[in-house]
Symmetry: C6
Subunit: 76 residues, 6 copies
């Protein structure tokens, strides 16, 4: 299973880095719950629960912190 | 979908950096729950629940840590 | 709306930095729940719930980490 | 109200730094819930709830990360 | 009990670093709940609960932040 | 009460650093809930609850981040 798309944290832009952060979180979910259909069902439930959404947003924020540091914050 | 407004973490001031942190969190929510009407309904509920508010505030704090580091804390 | 009091993370002392961290968290709450009366009501409830208090304390700890780094930990 | 005992994050030892981290968390609680008697009552409840204890431990871990960085990890 | 597979945080690639982050989290669970059968039973329950999955994903994100920093983000 | 075993964050190996991270978390719990028998009872409950286990694992991950930084990630 691929956990880091492209096997790198380096991206050209902050926008791409943000997309990578979301992907990293989703890949972890897939590594823990390996059944795609089950993931699809769970997704319907949590996307309409505000706290569940905030919790997911929290994880993306943490992944992004790592990706942003890896890219020196795209200060370029 | 745009995840990082302006595609940069660099802002002129700490105030603008804080506003960006809030935007980053909201953009992630929109990326997960893509239906704007559903997001609007959820918003009404969580803004009157103290723990939900604290959870959202927590995410903003983490996003801001990244934005602040990217800007060398606007030390001037 | 002002999100960062004084528009700077720099403070003279650790004590002032801590007070700023608390302010930052409160300003975010005010940005999400813009009605002051509602915030006042919510405040009464969460200040007597131990887990709610811990959650709020958690956010302050994260904000303070950023403020402390911005000030080079007031190492003097 | 004093939020940072001694108004400094610098301590002689890691042990003292850990004690400071606990104090910082408690001072924040006191800043939010200013009534000492109420705090005492809440304390009885959360100290016998395992998740409440873990949440409190979590906050101390974050405060300690800041104190440890401030002291260059007491590397000597 | 082994807590850090191979007793090192250094990996060749980001992909391997991500796998290590997942392993670190699982080893901690095993250190706290030492009965393998109990862990297996708990696993069935939490993998079908969206918030439990998000919480686990959160821990992996934090472990990965450490592993990524240890490896200078595999910048090459 | 001893909060940091050996009063240092420096360890020879990553494995020892991980063990220290677990110890730091446990010492904080003991500092908050000072009755050993109560702690023992709470332990039985939370070790069979998957979310409680994840929460505890989360704290260890944060403590480990600090210990790992203190040791320059045992890069050798």
């Amino acid at each position: 299973m691929e956990l880091v798309p492209g096997n790198t944290l380096i991206t050209d832009t902050a926008e791409q880095g943000r997309a990578l952060a979301i992907m990293l979180a989703r890949k972890t979910v897939a590594a823990i719950q390996t059944d795609a259909e089950t993931r699809q069902q769970l997704r319907a439930g949590y996307a309409t629960n505000p706290d569940s959404l905030t919790m997911a947003t929290h994880v993306v924020a943490i992944e992004f912190a790592t990706v942003a540091a890896a890219n020196n914050y795209w200060r370029g």
